[in-house]
Protein backbone atom coordinates (compact mmCIF):
# COMPACT_ATOMS: atom_id res chain seq x y z
CA UNK A 1 0.00 0.00 0.00
CA UNK A 2 1.27 3.45 -0.81
CA UNK A 3 -0.80 5.34 1.79
CA UNK A 4 -0.33 4.83 5.51
CA UNK A 5 -3.07 3.50 7.77
CA UNK A 6 -5.42 0.59 7.27
CA UNK A 7 -6.99 -0.46 4.00
CA UNK A 8 -10.44 1.12 4.04
CA UNK A 9 -13.20 -0.89 2.40
CA UNK A 10 -16.85 0.04 1.90
CA UNK A 11 -19.32 -2.81 1.58
CA UNK A 12 -22.65 -1.95 0.00
CA UNK A 13 -25.39 -4.25 1.25
CA UNK A 14 -25.51 -6.50 4.29
CA UNK A 15 -26.98 -9.75 3.01
CA UNK A 16 -25.10 -13.06 2.96
CA UNK A 17 -22.75 -12.02 0.12
CA UNK A 18 -21.81 -8.83 1.97
CA UNK A 19 -21.34 -10.67 5.27
CA UNK A 20 -19.15 -13.38 3.73
CA UNK A 21 -17.11 -10.64 2.03
CA UNK A 22 -16.67 -9.04 5.43
CA UNK A 23 -15.76 -12.38 7.00
CA UNK A 24 -13.05 -13.08 4.43
CA UNK A 25 -11.67 -9.54 4.64
CA UNK A 26 -11.40 -9.66 8.43
CA UNK A 27 -9.86 -13.13 8.34
CA UNK A 28 -7.18 -12.12 5.85
CA UNK A 29 -3.86 -12.64 7.64
CA UNK A 30 -1.56 -9.65 7.92
CA UNK A 31 -4.10 -7.32 6.34
CA UNK A 32 -4.67 -4.09 8.25
CA UNK A 33 -8.24 -3.40 7.23
CA UNK A 34 -11.33 -1.50 8.36
CA UNK A 35 -14.73 -1.90 6.78
CA UNK A 36 -17.90 0.17 6.72
CA UNK A 37 -21.11 -1.66 5.82
CA UNK A 38 -23.87 0.41 4.21
CA UNK A 39 -27.38 -1.05 4.33
CA UNK A 40 -30.40 0.51 2.66
CA UNK A 41 -32.88 -0.82 5.25
CA UNK A 42 -32.89 -0.24 9.01
CA UNK A 43 -31.94 -3.86 9.67
CA UNK A 44 -29.08 -5.94 8.25
CA UNK A 45 -28.87 -9.37 6.57
CA UNK A 46 -30.83 -8.80 3.35
CA UNK A 47 -32.74 -11.82 2.13
CA UNK A 48 -32.05 -13.80 5.30
CA UNK A 49 -34.53 -11.47 6.95
CA UNK A 50 -36.69 -10.55 3.96
CA UNK A 51 -36.44 -13.60 1.68
CA UNK A 52 -35.93 -16.81 3.66
CA UNK A 53 -39.40 -18.12 4.55
CA UNK A 54 -40.71 -17.08 7.98
CA UNK A 55 -41.42 -20.73 8.86
CA UNK A 56 -37.77 -21.64 8.15
CA UNK A 57 -36.20 -20.17 11.26
CA UNK A 58 -33.30 -22.62 11.27
CA UNK A 59 -32.09 -21.22 7.95
CA UNK A 60 -32.48 -17.69 9.29
CA UNK A 61 -30.16 -18.83 12.12
CA UNK A 62 -27.23 -18.28 9.73
CA UNK A 63 -27.20 -14.71 11.07
CA UNK A 64 -25.57 -16.06 14.23
CA UNK A 65 -22.43 -16.46 12.13
CA UNK A 66 -22.79 -12.90 10.80
CA UNK A 67 -23.47 -11.16 14.10
CA UNK A 68 -19.87 -11.23 15.45
CA UNK A 69 -18.62 -9.70 12.19
CA UNK A 70 -20.68 -6.57 12.71
CA UNK A 71 -19.39 -6.32 16.28
CA UNK A 72 -15.75 -6.52 15.20
CA UNK A 73 -13.99 -3.29 16.27
CA UNK A 74 -12.73 -2.86 12.69
CA UNK A 75 -16.30 -2.74 11.35
CA UNK A 76 -18.99 -0.05 11.38
CA UNK A 77 -22.60 -0.54 10.28
CA UNK A 78 -24.44 2.34 8.64
CA UNK A 79 -28.01 1.08 8.30
CA UNK A 80 -30.80 3.06 6.63
CA UNK A 81 -28.21 4.56 4.29
CA UNK A 82 -28.82 4.01 0.58
CA UNK A 83 -26.11 3.97 -2.04
CA UNK A 84 -27.19 6.21 -4.90
CA UNK A 85 -29.44 8.31 -2.66
CA UNK A 86 -27.31 9.16 0.38
CA UNK A 87 -23.92 8.22 -1.02
CA UNK A 88 -22.42 8.29 -4.50
CA UNK A 89 -19.51 6.45 -6.06
CA UNK A 90 -17.42 9.63 -5.84
CA UNK A 91 -17.95 9.69 -2.06
CA UNK A 92 -16.70 6.13 -1.82
CA UNK A 93 -13.65 6.94 -3.94
CA UNK A 94 -12.86 9.92 -1.72
CA UNK A 95 -12.99 7.95 1.53
CA UNK A 96 -12.15 4.32 0.70
CA UNK A 97 -9.50 2.33 -1.11
CA UNK A 98 -12.10 -0.12 -2.34
CA UNK A 99 -15.84 -0.65 -2.48
CA UNK A 100 -17.52 -4.02 -2.76
CA UNK A 101 -21.10 -3.98 -3.99
CA UNK A 102 -23.32 -6.81 -2.78
CA UNK A 103 -26.82 -5.44 -3.26
CA UNK A 104 -28.22 -8.63 -4.73
CA UNK A 105 -30.88 -8.98 -7.39
CA UNK A 106 -33.66 -6.68 -6.37
CA UNK A 107 -36.29 -7.30 -8.96
CA UNK A 108 -37.99 -10.25 -10.62
CA UNK A 109 -37.81 -11.65 -14.11
CA UNK A 110 -40.95 -11.30 -16.18
CA UNK A 111 -42.86 -14.09 -17.94
CA UNK A 112 -43.32 -12.07 -21.10
CA UNK A 113 -46.92 -13.17 -21.74
CA UNK A 114 -50.12 -11.17 -22.31
CA UNK A 115 -52.00 -10.19 -19.17
CA UNK A 116 -48.90 -10.27 -16.98
CA UNK A 117 -49.73 -6.84 -15.55
CA UNK A 118 -53.41 -7.46 -14.81
CA UNK A 119 -54.49 -6.69 -11.24
CA UNK A 120 -54.00 -9.87 -9.21
CA UNK A 121 -50.81 -10.84 -11.05
CA UNK A 122 -47.78 -10.24 -8.84
CA UNK A 123 -44.09 -11.07 -8.70
CA UNK A 124 -43.57 -13.82 -6.12
CA UNK A 125 -40.67 -11.77 -4.78
CA UNK A 126 -43.07 -8.95 -3.80
CA UNK A 127 -45.32 -11.41 -1.97
CA UNK A 128 -42.29 -12.93 -0.21
CA UNK A 129 -41.16 -9.46 0.87
CA UNK A 130 -44.72 -8.70 2.04
CA UNK A 131 -45.04 -11.74 4.30
CA UNK A 132 -41.52 -11.16 5.59
CA UNK A 133 -42.31 -7.59 6.67
CA UNK A 134 -40.00 -5.81 4.23
CA UNK A 135 -40.73 -2.10 4.84
CA UNK A 136 -41.13 -1.36 1.11
CA UNK A 137 -43.80 -4.06 0.66
CA UNK A 138 -45.98 -3.81 3.78
CA UNK A 139 -48.78 -2.16 1.87
CA UNK A 140 -48.78 -4.55 -1.11
CA UNK A 141 -52.33 -5.41 -2.14
CA UNK A 142 -52.67 -9.19 -2.03
CA UNK A 143 -56.24 -10.29 -2.69
CA UNK A 144 -56.65 -13.42 -0.58
CA UNK A 145 -60.43 -13.39 -1.14
CA UNK A 146 -59.79 -15.48 -4.23
CA UNK A 147 -60.36 -19.23 -4.19
CA UNK A 148 -57.47 -20.28 -6.40
CA UNK A 149 -53.89 -19.14 -6.90
CA UNK A 150 -51.38 -20.04 -9.60
CA UNK A 151 -47.63 -19.89 -9.05
CA UNK A 152 -45.54 -19.95 -12.21
CA UNK A 153 -42.12 -21.47 -11.69
CA UNK A 154 -40.67 -24.38 -9.74
CA UNK A 155 -37.78 -23.10 -7.70
CA UNK A 156 -37.64 -23.01 -3.93
CA UNK A 157 -39.23 -19.53 -3.93
CA UNK A 158 -42.27 -20.91 -5.77
CA UNK A 159 -42.48 -23.75 -3.27
CA UNK A 160 -42.17 -21.28 -0.37
CA UNK A 161 -45.04 -19.19 -1.73
CA UNK A 162 -47.22 -22.27 -2.25
CA UNK A 163 -46.52 -23.48 1.28
CA UNK A 164 -47.16 -20.11 2.90
CA UNK A 165 -50.53 -19.91 1.10
CA UNK A 166 -51.44 -23.27 2.65
CA UNK A 167 -50.38 -22.69 6.27
CA UNK A 168 -53.01 -23.07 8.99
CA UNK A 169 -53.48 -20.39 11.68
CA UNK A 170 -51.49 -22.56 14.11
CA UNK A 171 -48.63 -22.88 11.64
CA UNK A 172 -48.73 -19.16 10.84
CA UNK A 173 -48.54 -18.19 14.51
CA UNK A 174 -45.27 -20.05 14.96
CA UNK A 175 -43.53 -17.81 12.40
CA UNK A 176 -42.03 -14.33 12.61
CA UNK A 177 -44.43 -12.98 9.99
CA UNK A 178 -45.75 -9.49 10.71
CA UNK A 179 -49.23 -9.35 12.24
CA UNK A 180 -50.80 -7.91 9.07
CA UNK A 181 -49.63 -10.91 7.04
CA UNK A 182 -50.73 -13.46 9.65
CA UNK A 183 -54.18 -11.89 9.84
CA UNK A 184 -54.56 -11.72 6.06
CA UNK A 185 -53.41 -15.31 5.56
CA UNK A 186 -55.63 -16.58 8.38
CA UNK A 187 -58.61 -15.02 6.65
CA UNK A 188 -57.50 -16.29 3.22
CA UNK A 189 -60.20 -18.01 1.18
CA UNK A 190 -57.70 -19.71 -1.13
CA UNK A 191 -58.45 -23.41 -1.45
CA UNK A 192 -56.60 -24.44 -4.59
CA UNK A 193 -52.93 -23.64 -5.22
CA UNK A 194 -51.40 -24.63 -8.55
CA UNK A 195 -47.63 -24.61 -9.06
CA UNK A 196 -46.72 -24.76 -12.76
CA UNK A 197 -43.44 -26.06 -14.18
CA UNK A 198 -42.85 -25.91 -17.91
CA UNK A 199 -40.48 -28.86 -17.76
CA UNK A 200 -40.69 -32.24 -16.01
CA UNK A 201 -39.93 -33.66 -12.56
CA UNK A 202 -36.26 -34.19 -13.39
CA UNK A 203 -35.78 -30.52 -14.31
CA UNK A 204 -37.64 -28.93 -11.39
CA UNK A 205 -35.35 -26.56 -9.50
CA UNK A 206 -36.79 -27.15 -6.04
CA UNK A 207 -34.95 -29.53 -3.73
CA UNK A 208 -36.27 -32.71 -2.11
CA UNK A 209 -36.49 -31.41 1.48
CA UNK A 210 -38.70 -28.50 0.35
CA UNK A 211 -40.95 -30.94 -1.50
CA UNK A 212 -41.07 -33.35 1.43
CA UNK A 213 -42.16 -30.48 3.65
CA UNK A 214 -45.25 -29.96 1.46
CA UNK A 215 -46.42 -33.47 2.39
CA UNK A 216 -46.40 -32.60 6.10
CA UNK A 217 -48.67 -29.55 5.94
CA UNK A 218 -51.50 -29.67 8.48
CA UNK A 219 -54.12 -28.08 6.25
CA UNK A 220 -53.28 -29.01 2.67
CA UNK A 221 -52.99 -32.10 0.51
CA UNK A 222 -50.25 -32.24 -2.09
CA UNK A 223 -51.40 -33.70 -5.41
CA UNK A 224 -49.26 -34.66 -8.37
CA UNK A 225 -50.75 -36.28 -11.47
CA UNK A 226 -49.17 -39.70 -12.07
CA UNK A 227 -48.97 -39.05 -15.83
CA UNK A 228 -47.01 -35.83 -15.14
CA UNK A 229 -44.72 -37.52 -12.63
CA UNK A 230 -43.60 -40.11 -15.18
CA UNK A 231 -40.29 -39.37 -16.86
CA UNK A 232 -39.81 -39.18 -20.61
CA UNK A 233 -36.93 -41.41 -21.82
CA UNK A 234 -34.54 -38.47 -22.18
CA UNK A 235 -35.12 -37.27 -18.63
CA UNK A 236 -34.88 -40.81 -17.30
CA UNK A 237 -31.46 -41.09 -18.97
CA UNK A 238 -30.47 -37.74 -17.50
CA UNK A 239 -31.38 -38.87 -13.99
CA UNK A 240 -29.59 -42.17 -14.53
CA UNK A 241 -26.43 -40.39 -15.74
CA UNK A 242 -26.36 -37.63 -13.15
CA UNK A 243 -23.67 -37.70 -10.50
CA UNK A 244 -26.10 -35.85 -8.25
CA UNK A 245 -27.88 -38.55 -6.24
CA UNK A 246 -30.29 -36.01 -4.76
CA UNK A 247 -31.87 -35.72 -8.22
CA UNK A 248 -32.87 -39.39 -8.28
CA UNK A 249 -34.23 -39.09 -4.74
CA UNK A 250 -36.28 -36.04 -5.69
CA UNK A 251 -37.78 -37.77 -8.73
CA UNK A 252 -38.56 -40.84 -6.65
CA UNK A 253 -40.30 -38.68 -4.05
CA UNK A 254 -42.38 -36.96 -6.75
CA UNK A 255 -43.50 -40.34 -8.08
CA UNK A 256 -44.32 -41.64 -4.60
CA UNK A 257 -46.49 -38.61 -3.88
CA UNK A 258 -48.23 -39.02 -7.25
CA UNK A 259 -48.96 -42.67 -6.47
CA UNK A 260 -50.36 -42.09 -2.99
CA UNK A 261 -51.56 -38.58 -2.16
CA UNK A 262 -52.46 -37.86 1.45
CA UNK A 263 -56.03 -37.63 2.75
CA UNK A 264 -58.13 -34.67 1.57
CA UNK A 265 -57.69 -31.52 3.66
CA UNK A 266 -59.23 -28.07 3.40
CA UNK A 267 -56.70 -26.95 0.79
CA UNK A 268 -55.20 -28.71 -2.21
CA UNK A 269 -51.76 -27.94 -3.56
CA UNK A 270 -51.34 -29.09 -7.15
CA UNK A 271 -47.79 -29.55 -8.39
CA UNK A 272 -48.00 -29.56 -12.18
CA UNK A 273 -45.30 -30.53 -14.67
CA UNK A 274 -44.91 -29.93 -18.42
CA UNK A 275 -47.37 -27.07 -18.45
CA UNK A 276 -46.59 -23.45 -19.36
CA UNK A 277 -48.72 -20.30 -19.13
CA UNK A 278 -49.60 -18.60 -22.42
CA UNK A 279 -51.78 -15.78 -21.20
CA UNK A 280 -53.48 -14.40 -18.10
CA UNK A 281 -57.20 -13.92 -18.77
CA UNK A 282 -59.15 -11.09 -17.14
CA UNK A 283 -62.51 -11.55 -15.44
CA UNK A 284 -65.49 -9.14 -15.67
CA UNK A 285 -63.85 -6.75 -13.16
CA UNK A 286 -60.64 -6.54 -15.18
CA UNK A 287 -58.50 -8.48 -12.70
CA UNK A 288 -56.93 -11.82 -13.55
CA UNK A 289 -59.45 -14.66 -13.44
CA UNK A 290 -57.70 -17.55 -15.16
CA UNK A 291 -54.46 -18.72 -16.71
CA UNK A 292 -54.51 -20.15 -20.21
CA UNK A 293 -51.80 -22.79 -20.41
CA UNK A 294 -50.31 -25.15 -22.92
CA UNK A 295 -49.09 -28.63 -22.24
CA UNK A 296 -45.43 -28.92 -23.18
CA UNK A 297 -43.20 -31.64 -24.54
CA UNK A 298 -39.54 -32.00 -23.70
CA UNK A 299 -36.94 -31.76 -26.45
CA UNK A 300 -33.15 -32.05 -26.46
CA UNK A 301 -31.07 -28.93 -26.96
CA UNK A 302 -27.81 -29.08 -28.97
CA UNK A 303 -25.77 -28.53 -25.81
CA UNK A 304 -27.25 -31.58 -24.13
CA UNK A 305 -29.98 -29.89 -22.13
CA UNK A 306 -33.70 -30.49 -22.10
CA UNK A 307 -36.08 -27.70 -23.10
CA UNK A 308 -39.86 -27.47 -23.17
CA UNK A 309 -41.87 -26.59 -26.27
CA UNK A 310 -45.63 -26.18 -26.62
CA UNK A 311 -47.32 -29.48 -27.38
CA UNK A 312 -50.57 -28.01 -28.66
CA UNK A 313 -53.07 -29.16 -26.06
CA UNK A 314 -54.36 -26.25 -23.96
CA UNK A 315 -55.87 -25.96 -20.50
CA UNK A 316 -57.46 -23.05 -18.63
CA UNK A 317 -56.86 -22.90 -14.87
CA UNK A 318 -59.22 -20.56 -13.00
CA UNK A 319 -57.20 -18.37 -10.60
CA UNK A 320 -57.74 -14.91 -9.17
CA UNK A 321 -54.19 -14.59 -7.96
CA UNK A 322 -51.06 -15.30 -10.01
CA UNK A 323 -47.50 -15.17 -8.74
CA UNK A 324 -44.62 -15.30 -11.20
CA UNK A 325 -41.54 -16.95 -9.75
CA UNK A 326 -39.31 -17.35 -12.77
CA UNK A 327 -36.19 -15.80 -11.25
CA UNK A 328 -34.78 -12.69 -9.69
CA UNK A 329 -32.90 -10.01 -11.61
CA UNK A 330 -30.24 -7.49 -10.62
CA UNK A 331 -30.75 -3.75 -10.98
CA UNK A 332 -28.13 -1.27 -12.22
CA UNK A 333 -26.34 0.77 -9.56
CA UNK A 334 -25.55 4.45 -10.14
CA UNK A 335 -21.99 4.92 -11.39
CA UNK A 336 -21.36 1.26 -12.21
CA UNK A 337 -21.58 -0.51 -15.58
CA UNK A 338 -24.39 -3.06 -16.00
CA UNK A 339 -24.91 -6.10 -18.20
CA UNK A 340 -28.58 -5.92 -19.00
CA UNK A 341 -28.72 -9.38 -20.54
CA UNK A 342 -27.29 -11.18 -17.52
CA UNK A 343 -28.67 -8.71 -14.99
CA UNK A 344 -25.28 -8.34 -13.28
CA UNK A 345 -22.46 -5.82 -12.99
CA UNK A 346 -19.86 -6.94 -15.57
CA UNK A 347 -16.96 -8.49 -13.68
CA UNK A 348 -14.12 -10.95 -13.81
CA UNK A 349 -14.02 -13.06 -10.64
CA UNK A 350 -15.47 -10.09 -8.73
CA UNK A 351 -13.42 -7.25 -10.22
CA UNK A 352 -15.80 -4.81 -11.89
CA UNK A 353 -14.97 -4.55 -15.60
CA UNK A 354 -15.53 -1.60 -17.87
CA UNK A 355 -17.36 -3.25 -20.79
CA UNK A 356 -16.04 -0.66 -23.25
CA UNK A 357 -12.37 -1.43 -22.59
CA UNK A 358 -12.48 -4.80 -20.82
CA UNK A 359 -10.23 -3.29 -18.14
CA UNK A 360 -10.94 -3.47 -14.40
CA UNK A 361 -12.50 -0.40 -12.76
CA UNK A 362 -9.95 0.35 -10.01
CA UNK A 363 -11.21 -0.20 -6.46
CA UNK A 364 -14.63 -1.56 -7.48
CA UNK A 365 -15.72 -5.11 -6.69
CA UNK A 366 -18.94 -7.12 -6.63
CA UNK A 367 -20.06 -10.20 -4.71
CA UNK A 368 -23.14 -12.40 -4.58
CA UNK A 369 -26.11 -12.17 -6.91
CA UNK A 370 -25.02 -8.82 -8.32
CA UNK A 371 -21.83 -10.61 -9.42
CA UNK A 372 -22.99 -14.03 -10.64
CA UNK A 373 -26.76 -13.62 -11.02
CA UNK A 374 -29.50 -15.00 -8.77
CA UNK A 375 -28.37 -18.57 -8.26
CA UNK A 376 -27.24 -20.88 -5.51
CA UNK A 377 -27.96 -21.25 -1.82
CA UNK A 378 -26.87 -18.97 1.02
CA UNK A 379 -23.59 -20.87 1.40
CA UNK A 380 -22.75 -20.35 -2.29
CA UNK A 381 -21.96 -16.78 -1.36
CA UNK A 382 -19.03 -17.88 0.79
CA UNK A 383 -16.75 -19.18 -1.99
CA UNK A 384 -18.12 -16.40 -4.20
CA UNK A 385 -17.09 -13.73 -1.68
CA UNK A 386 -13.76 -15.47 -1.07
CA UNK A 387 -12.96 -15.10 -4.77
CA UNK A 388 -13.82 -11.38 -4.72
CA UNK A 389 -11.78 -10.75 -1.57
CA UNK A 390 -8.84 -12.61 -3.13
CA UNK A 391 -8.92 -10.16 -6.06
CA UNK A 392 -9.21 -7.18 -3.72
CA UNK A 393 -6.29 -8.30 -1.55
CA UNK A 394 -4.16 -9.05 -4.64
CA UNK A 395 -4.89 -5.58 -6.00
CA UNK A 396 -4.06 -3.99 -2.65
CA UNK A 397 -0.76 -5.84 -2.45
CA UNK A 398 0.11 -4.87 -6.03
CA UNK A 399 -0.62 -1.20 -5.34
CA UNK A 400 -3.51 -1.18 -7.81
CA UNK A 401 -5.96 0.48 -5.39
CA UNK A 402 -6.15 4.26 -5.69
CA UNK A 403 -5.39 5.92 -2.34
CA UNK A 404 -8.42 7.87 -1.08
CA UNK A 405 -7.77 11.60 -0.57
CA UNK A 406 -9.77 11.61 2.70
CA UNK A 407 -9.26 8.33 4.55
CA UNK A 408 -10.27 9.70 7.98
CA UNK A 409 -13.05 7.37 9.29
CA UNK A 410 -14.78 10.33 10.96
CA UNK A 411 -15.44 11.85 7.53
CA UNK A 412 -18.28 9.39 6.86
CA UNK A 413 -20.52 10.25 9.83
CA UNK A 414 -19.76 13.91 9.17
CA UNK A 415 -20.75 13.58 5.53
CA UNK A 416 -23.98 11.71 6.30
CA UNK A 417 -24.89 14.16 9.05
CA UNK A 418 -24.26 17.09 6.72
CA UNK A 419 -26.67 15.48 4.23
CA UNK A 420 -29.32 15.07 6.90
CA UNK A 421 -29.14 11.26 6.82
CA UNK A 422 -30.30 9.57 10.03
CA UNK A 423 -28.39 6.29 10.09
CA UNK A 424 -28.54 3.42 12.52
CA UNK A 425 -25.47 1.79 14.05
CA UNK A 426 -24.68 -1.75 15.08
CA UNK A 427 -25.63 -0.81 18.65
CA UNK A 428 -29.01 0.37 17.36
CA UNK A 429 -29.45 -2.92 15.51
CA UNK A 430 -28.67 -4.82 18.72
CA UNK A 431 -31.46 -2.93 20.48
CA UNK A 432 -33.89 -3.49 17.60
CA UNK A 433 -33.02 -7.18 17.59
CA UNK A 434 -33.57 -7.45 21.34
CA UNK A 435 -36.90 -5.59 21.22
CA UNK A 436 -38.11 -7.80 18.35
CA UNK A 437 -37.13 -10.99 20.16
CA UNK A 438 -38.70 -9.85 23.42
CA UNK A 439 -41.95 -9.00 21.63
CA UNK A 440 -41.78 -12.41 19.94
CA UNK A 441 -41.24 -14.24 23.24
CA UNK A 442 -44.42 -12.66 24.60
CA UNK A 443 -46.35 -14.21 21.68
CA UNK A 444 -44.50 -17.51 21.54
CA UNK A 445 -42.91 -16.52 18.20
CA UNK A 446 -39.26 -16.12 17.13
CA UNK A 447 -39.63 -12.35 16.87
CA UNK A 448 -42.11 -9.61 16.03
CA UNK A 449 -40.55 -7.50 13.31
CA UNK A 450 -40.54 -3.77 12.99
CA UNK A 451 -41.82 -2.95 9.53
CA UNK A 452 -41.29 0.81 9.38
CA UNK A 453 -38.41 3.14 10.09
CA UNK A 454 -40.65 5.49 12.07
CA UNK A 455 -41.64 2.68 14.43
CA UNK A 456 -37.99 1.70 14.85
CA UNK A 457 -36.89 5.25 15.61
CA UNK A 458 -39.72 5.73 18.10
CA UNK A 459 -38.89 2.46 19.86
CA UNK A 460 -35.18 3.29 20.00
CA UNK A 461 -35.91 6.69 21.51
CA UNK A 462 -38.17 5.11 24.05
CA UNK A 463 -35.75 2.32 24.96
CA UNK A 464 -32.74 4.53 25.60
CA UNK A 465 -30.84 7.31 23.94
CA UNK A 466 -29.14 5.73 20.92
CA UNK A 467 -25.41 6.13 20.54
CA UNK A 468 -24.23 7.72 17.35
CA UNK A 469 -21.41 5.33 16.52
CA UNK A 470 -19.04 2.87 18.06
Amino acid sequence: MSSPGPLRVAIIGSGPAAMYTLEHLLAEPELDVTADVFERLFTPYGLVRAGVAPDHQKIKGVTRAFEPLLHDPRVRLFASVEYGRDLALDDLRRHYHAACFATGAQTDRRMGIPGEDLPGSLPATAFVAWYNGHPDYCTLAVDLEQEAAVIVGMGNVAIDVARILCLTPDELRRTDMPAYAIEALEASRIREVHVLGRRGPAQAAFTAPELKELTTLEGATLRIRPEEAALDPRSAAEVERSADRTLARKVQLIQEIAASPGPPRSRTLHLRFCIAPLELLPGPGGAVAAVRCTRTRLVATPSGGIAAEPAGEEEVIPAGLVFRSVGYRGLPLPGLPFDDRLGVVPNRAGRVIDPATGAPVPGCYVAGWLKRGPTGVIGTNKPDAAETVRCLVEDAAAGRLPAPPEPDPAAIPDLLAARGVRWLTCADWQRIDRLEREAGAREGRPRVKFTSLDAVLAALEQAEAPTSAH
Binding site: S242, D244, G305, R341, G376
Partner: protein
Protein backbone atom coordinates in the same frame (compact mmCIF):
# COMPACT_ATOMS: atom_id res chain seq x y z
CA UNK B 1 -26.33 -23.67 -11.88
CA UNK B 2 -26.86 -22.20 -15.32
CA UNK B 3 -24.32 -21.01 -17.89
CA UNK B 4 -25.54 -17.45 -17.26
CA UNK B 5 -23.97 -17.62 -13.80
CA UNK B 6 -20.69 -18.97 -15.20
CA UNK B 7 -20.53 -16.31 -17.86
CA UNK B 8 -21.37 -13.52 -15.40
CA UNK B 9 -18.01 -13.69 -13.62
CA UNK B 10 -15.85 -14.33 -16.66
CA UNK B 11 -16.11 -10.88 -18.22
CA UNK B 12 -18.24 -10.85 -21.34
CA UNK B 13 -15.42 -10.40 -23.82
CA UNK B 14 -14.98 -13.18 -26.41
CA UNK B 15 -12.00 -13.39 -28.74
CA UNK B 16 -13.29 -13.77 -32.30
CA UNK B 17 -11.92 -13.86 -35.82
CA UNK B 18 -13.46 -13.56 -39.26
CA UNK B 19 -13.84 -16.75 -41.31
CA UNK B 20 -11.92 -15.09 -44.14
CA UNK B 21 -8.89 -14.11 -42.02
CA UNK B 22 -5.63 -16.03 -42.62
CA UNK B 23 -4.44 -18.63 -40.10
CA UNK B 24 -1.42 -16.40 -39.38
CA UNK B 25 -3.80 -13.87 -37.86
CA UNK B 26 -5.43 -16.55 -35.72
CA UNK B 27 -2.03 -17.76 -34.50
CA UNK B 28 -1.00 -14.21 -33.60
CA UNK B 29 -4.27 -13.64 -31.76
CA UNK B 30 -4.04 -16.91 -29.80
CA UNK B 31 -0.45 -16.12 -28.80
CA UNK B 32 -1.17 -12.50 -27.87
CA UNK B 33 -4.14 -13.41 -25.68
CA UNK B 34 -2.59 -16.62 -24.33
CA UNK B 35 -5.77 -18.57 -25.08
CA UNK B 36 -6.62 -21.82 -26.82
CA UNK B 37 -9.42 -21.00 -29.24
CA UNK B 38 -11.15 -18.25 -31.18
CA UNK B 39 -14.78 -18.15 -32.18
CA UNK B 40 -15.10 -17.73 -35.94
CA UNK B 41 -17.81 -15.36 -37.11
CA UNK B 42 -19.43 -15.13 -40.51
CA UNK B 43 -20.18 -11.81 -42.21
CA UNK B 44 -23.46 -11.43 -40.27
CA UNK B 45 -21.81 -11.88 -36.89
CA UNK B 46 -23.22 -15.38 -36.35
CA UNK B 47 -21.04 -18.26 -35.16
CA UNK B 48 -19.57 -20.02 -38.20
CA UNK B 49 -17.15 -22.25 -36.35
CA UNK B 50 -14.39 -22.37 -33.82
CA UNK B 51 -10.66 -22.54 -34.38
CA UNK B 52 -8.52 -24.05 -31.68
CA UNK B 53 -4.87 -24.95 -31.23
CA UNK B 54 -5.82 -28.52 -32.13
CA UNK B 55 -7.30 -27.49 -35.48
CA UNK B 56 -4.10 -25.65 -36.39
CA UNK B 57 -1.89 -28.52 -35.26
CA UNK B 58 -3.99 -30.93 -37.36
CA UNK B 59 -3.55 -28.67 -40.39
CA UNK B 60 0.21 -28.47 -39.80
CA UNK B 61 0.43 -32.24 -39.45
CA UNK B 62 -1.40 -32.67 -42.75
CA UNK B 63 1.47 -30.80 -44.43
CA UNK B 64 1.53 -27.96 -46.92
CA UNK B 65 1.37 -24.24 -46.26
CA UNK B 66 -0.97 -23.34 -43.39
CA UNK B 67 -0.37 -19.75 -42.35
CA UNK B 68 -1.79 -18.11 -45.48
CA UNK B 69 -4.97 -20.14 -45.92
CA UNK B 70 -8.25 -18.78 -44.54
CA UNK B 71 -9.48 -19.75 -41.10
CA UNK B 72 -12.64 -21.14 -42.72
CA UNK B 73 -10.58 -23.98 -44.29
CA UNK B 74 -9.19 -25.20 -40.98
CA UNK B 75 -11.83 -24.40 -38.35
CA UNK B 76 -14.21 -26.87 -36.82
CA UNK B 77 -17.67 -26.39 -38.27
CA UNK B 78 -20.90 -27.67 -36.71
CA UNK B 79 -19.98 -26.13 -33.40
CA UNK B 80 -22.18 -26.95 -30.44
CA UNK B 81 -23.29 -23.70 -28.81
CA UNK B 82 -24.73 -23.26 -25.37
CA UNK B 83 -27.45 -20.95 -24.12
CA UNK B 84 -27.72 -18.94 -20.90
CA UNK B 85 -30.30 -21.35 -19.54
CA UNK B 86 -28.19 -24.47 -20.04
CA UNK B 87 -27.34 -26.40 -16.92
CA UNK B 88 -23.68 -26.34 -15.95
CA UNK B 89 -23.35 -30.04 -15.13
CA UNK B 90 -25.19 -31.18 -18.27
CA UNK B 91 -22.96 -29.05 -20.48
CA UNK B 92 -19.83 -30.27 -18.72
CA UNK B 93 -20.92 -33.88 -19.33
CA UNK B 94 -21.55 -33.18 -23.03
CA UNK B 95 -18.19 -31.45 -23.44
CA UNK B 96 -16.34 -34.24 -21.63
CA UNK B 97 -18.06 -36.91 -23.73
CA UNK B 98 -17.50 -34.97 -26.97
CA UNK B 99 -13.85 -34.11 -26.15
CA UNK B 100 -14.14 -30.39 -26.73
CA UNK B 101 -13.01 -27.67 -24.37
CA UNK B 102 -14.60 -24.47 -25.67
CA UNK B 103 -18.31 -23.72 -25.85
CA UNK B 104 -19.58 -20.51 -27.44
CA UNK B 105 -22.68 -19.20 -25.71
CA UNK B 106 -25.35 -17.62 -27.90
CA UNK B 107 -28.49 -15.67 -27.15
CA UNK B 108 -31.00 -14.92 -29.91
CA UNK B 109 -28.49 -16.08 -32.51
CA UNK B 110 -25.75 -13.72 -31.33
CA UNK B 111 -22.50 -14.77 -29.71
CA UNK B 112 -22.37 -13.43 -26.16
CA UNK B 113 -19.64 -15.44 -24.49
CA UNK B 114 -17.35 -18.43 -24.43
CA UNK B 115 -16.86 -20.87 -21.60
CA UNK B 116 -14.12 -23.46 -21.27
CA UNK B 117 -14.17 -26.76 -19.43
CA UNK B 118 -11.83 -25.07 -16.96
CA UNK B 119 -14.38 -22.29 -16.33
CA UNK B 120 -17.11 -24.87 -15.85
CA UNK B 121 -15.03 -27.04 -13.52
CA UNK B 122 -14.17 -24.01 -11.40
CA UNK B 123 -17.82 -22.91 -11.26
CA UNK B 124 -18.89 -26.43 -10.33
CA UNK B 125 -16.31 -26.51 -7.57
CA UNK B 126 -17.57 -23.19 -6.19
CA UNK B 127 -21.16 -24.35 -6.39
CA UNK B 128 -20.33 -27.56 -4.52
CA UNK B 129 -18.29 -25.64 -1.95
CA UNK B 130 -21.36 -23.49 -1.36
CA UNK B 131 -23.54 -26.53 -0.81
CA UNK B 132 -21.02 -28.02 1.59
CA UNK B 133 -20.90 -24.73 3.48
CA UNK B 134 -24.68 -24.71 3.80
CA UNK B 135 -24.81 -28.35 4.91
CA UNK B 136 -22.08 -27.80 7.48
CA UNK B 137 -23.93 -24.82 8.86
CA UNK B 138 -27.17 -26.79 9.09
CA UNK B 139 -25.38 -29.70 10.73
CA UNK B 140 -23.74 -27.46 13.31
CA UNK B 141 -27.13 -25.92 14.12
CA UNK B 142 -28.68 -29.37 14.55
CA UNK B 143 -25.80 -30.54 16.75
CA UNK B 144 -26.14 -27.42 18.87
CA UNK B 145 -29.86 -27.97 19.27
CA UNK B 146 -29.91 -31.69 19.94
CA UNK B 147 -26.40 -32.28 21.28
CA UNK B 148 -25.78 -35.07 18.79
CA UNK B 149 -22.48 -36.79 19.52
CA UNK B 150 -22.03 -35.20 22.91
Amino acid sequence: MKLAAVLATRGAHVATIAASAPIAEAVAELAARNIGALVVLDGAGAVAGIISERDIIRALAAGGPVLDIPVADVMTRDVICGTLDDDLETVLAVMTAGHFRHLPVVDNGQLIGLVTTGDLAQALLQSLAGRVETLEFRLEAEIEQFGVGR
